[in-house]
């Protein structure tokens, strides 16, 4: 337990990469994942620069969620490199908790907040800081932490719902709360899986605004989304996945004009 009781663990020894390969915040090269003979990821390679926001589209089964699983340590790749923070850290050697502490936050497809905790407690739990079990028995909230939480409430616009239970929020509010929890973790990179699924048009537009704001504050963001209006609202570089590798990359107009992308989406 003692090893994890430190506030901000340095990169674990086993994950220190040999040399600086890249300037990129996130670097995937030749990543392959196979489930019972099915290639979920097929030699997937791409990079995300510091401060960049990237949208990922692709039909069902293209490997979008598996990609997130690999980056966050839920799934180990069969082959390939996954490096973080300018190639200094080998993510394939770490588990979910270590990767989360390094500064990669993940929002799940289905909104997952702590339903039996109040909204404010959800944020308190996510707030960057002490993660050790024994140390947290006697933990007290500091003024700086309170301020940070107020700041996040401003950003996610849930100030009026502080003391409601997470489970009592509407679907859209839960999505925002979960994004707020990611912000509280203060990650360098946010992975956001289908943030606007099930949202109204107004909520969708607000969510695009929220993500742009988060990105403007220096967080890199990777958004997986099906909703093209939303992707257009984001106005960022788009990457289309198909059968576990990158099919096309560029602006939304470039990608949606790509013949192979049209073929994949409309069927051949």
């Amino acid at each position: 337990m003692s090893a994890t009781d430190t506030l901000e663990p340095d990169v674990p020894v086993e994950a220190i990469a040999k040399k600086d390969l890249t300037e990129a915040l996130l670097y995937l090269d030749g990543v392959t994942v196979t489930f019972d003979g099915f290639r979920a990821l097929n030699s997937l390679s791409f990079t995300v620069d510091p401060g960049e926001m990237r949208a990922v589209i692709g039909p069902n089964g293209a490997g979008k969620t598996t990609m997130m699983d690999v980056i966050t340590g839920k799934t180990r790749p069969d082959k390939g490199d996954v490096f973080f923070a300018g190639g200094t850290t080998d993510l394939t050697k770490l588990d979910e908790t270590q990767i989360a502490t390094l500064g990669i936050g993940r929002k799940f497809q289905k909104p997952t907040v702590f339903e039996m905790h109040t909204v404010i407690d959800n944020l308190r739990l996510a707030l960057k800081g002490q993660r050790g079990a024994l140390a947290n028995i006697f933990r007290r909230e500091t003024a700086a932490e309170r301020e940070k939480i107020d700041e996040i409430f401003e950003t996610i616009k849930l100030s009026g719902h502080r003391d409601r239970l997470g489970g009592a929020l509407s679907h859209g509010q839960k999505q925002w709360l979960e994004i707020g929890m990611l912000l509280a973790q203060d990650p360098k990179l946010l992975l956001v899986d289908e943030p606007v699924a099930g949202m109204t048009d107004a909520e969708t537009a607000q969510t695009a605004e929220l993500l742009r704001e988060i990105n403007a504050n220096g967080h890199s963001v990777v958004v997986v989304e099906h909703d093209m209006t939303f992707v257009r609202d984001l106005g960022v570089r788009v990457m289309c996945l198909h059968e576990g590798s990158v099919l096309a990359e560029g602006t939304l107009d470039q990608v949606s004009a790509n013949e192979r992308v049209i073929e994949v989406y409309l069927g051949r």
Binding site: M1, T4, T72, E96, T97, A100, T101, G105, R106, F108, T112, V113, F114, E115, M116, H117, T118, I120, D121, R124, L125, A126, Q130, R131, G132, A133, L134, N136, I137, F138, R139, R146, D150, S159, R162, D163, R164, L165, G167, A168, M181, Q185
Partner: protein, 391 residues
């Protein structure tokens, strides 16, 4: 800004204060009614009732320990009787060593069952148990270390749900079989009994029984305050988060397994203390305490009282055991196990939050505040855990 409006967390809620008042009130009132009233008075509490109530209080502490992990972390342990029994055995070993030369065989050192087995010297693990502080330490360490080792392997391997319940059951069953063996050196089938003294006081004396009752009440009160403090701390919030969304907790950067191990060890130690207070009051500890059925019974107590409420667990333990005492001494005795099983089914179907959980819902519904405001006492989701396949 609006922080001033956020209610500060209180250590003890309204129900907690009522609970402590009842337990501590009983600690004063019961001995008073025993000592100060004449045996003919209607208010008189005979000593055998004092011991019976003391036994209920140790069960209440045991139920509290189970509620800490089941109600707040979602760990359904079907082997918690093992930790209770280990604490009981540690106390039993101390009590055996206090018998000294007064045993049937008159051996100054060896307990009777060892003389009977023709053993010539005390096994190494019986050394030290003649000293009370050592035995008291073992009451905590024996269950604590077992829980640490078991929890470390189980939680690190991410064993959850029914699979975890099954291996906890296997653990207590394995210990049952082991303690049945004479070679183990714990008195085999008969266990440890015929105790004479505790800390120099006659264990049968009325005064000793009153003191044991008061100590049981104090242990229950302190155990409650400890559990309540834990579940309301940041640590406890993480525990509840693990219960409701373990994956989220991992992706938030917490080592869920470490939190589970700490809670499991604390819970096992509380169960050990309960066992240690139980043994001198009932006068015997035998391998039957390890029986899987005992551990399942604890789950019924907690479910009846209300999982995830602490107070409910203690209440459920006392109520169900009172019913057990009542029904197993009359015409209905042969049907007690059917009644217990029926009670569990009925509670699961009609009162899924238990007595106290249902009361909290009722109180919240009457309160003027919107019903989705956080309750003073966090109740768990309104269903017992579904068996979840391991990930």
């Amino acid at each position: 800004m609006s922080n001033a409006l956020t209610p500060q967390p209180v250590l003890l809620g309204k129900s907690g204060l009522v609970f402590l008042a009842v337990v501590l009130g009983a600690a004063v009132l019961v001995p008073a009614l025993n000592l100060l009233t004449s045996p003919d008075s209607a208010l008189h509490v005979p000593t055998y009732v004092v011991s019976l109530l003391g036994k209920y209080l140790t069960y209440a502490l045991l139920a509290l320990s189970v509620d800490l992990i089941w109600g707040y972390v979602g760990i359904l342990s079907l082997g918690h009787g093992a930790f209770f029994a280990l604490g009981g055995y540690a106390m039993g070993m101390y009590l055996m060593r206090q018998i000294g030369p007064r045993g049937v065989y008159g051996d100054p050192v060896l307990p009777d069952f060892m003389v009977f087995l023709n053993w010539k010297e005390l096994p190494w693990f019986w050394h030290g148990f003649d000293m009370f502080p050592f035995a008291a330490l073992m009451v905590l360490l024996a269950p604590g270390i077992l829980a640490l080792v078991f929890g470390w392997f189980a939680f690190r391997s991410r064993v959850t749900g029914v699979y975890l319940s099954i291996i906890t059951q296997a653990m207590t069953f394995a210990l049952l079989l082991a303690f049945f063996r004479n070679d183990m050196g714990f008195g085999g089938n008969n266990g440890l009994t015929d105790f004479k003294d505790i800390l120099g006081f006659n264990i049968q004396a009325d005064g000793t029984r009153l003191v044991l009752f008061v100590l049981s009440a104090l242990a229950l009160a302190l155990g409650y305050v400890l559990c309540r403090f834990l579940v309301r701390s940041h640590f406890g919030k993480v525990l509840i988060a693990i219960r409701d969304a373990e994956t989220r907790v991992r992706f938030t950067g917490y080592r869920a397994e470490n939190y589970k191990v700490v809670a499991f060890v604390v819970s096992a130690m509380l169960a050990g203390i309960a066992g240690a207070l139980y043994v001198p009051q009932v006068g015997i500890i035998n391998p039957g305490e390890f029986s899987p059925a005992n551990s399942i019974e604890i789950i019924v107590w907690v479910a009846v009282g209300g999982r995830g409420t602490l107070v409910g667990a203690a209440l459920g333990a006392v109520l169900v055991n009172y019913a057990k005492t009542y029904f197993t001494s009359g015409l209905l005795a042969p049907y007690w196990l059917f009644m217990l099983g029926g009670l569990f089914v009925a509670v699961t179907l009609f009162l899924p939050k238990g007595i106290v959980g249902t009361f909290y819902d009722w109180r919240r519904a009457r309160a003027p505040a919107p019903e989705d405001l956080a309750p003073d006492d966090l109740a768990p989701p309104d269903k017992l855990p579904e068996p979840k396949p391991a990930e």
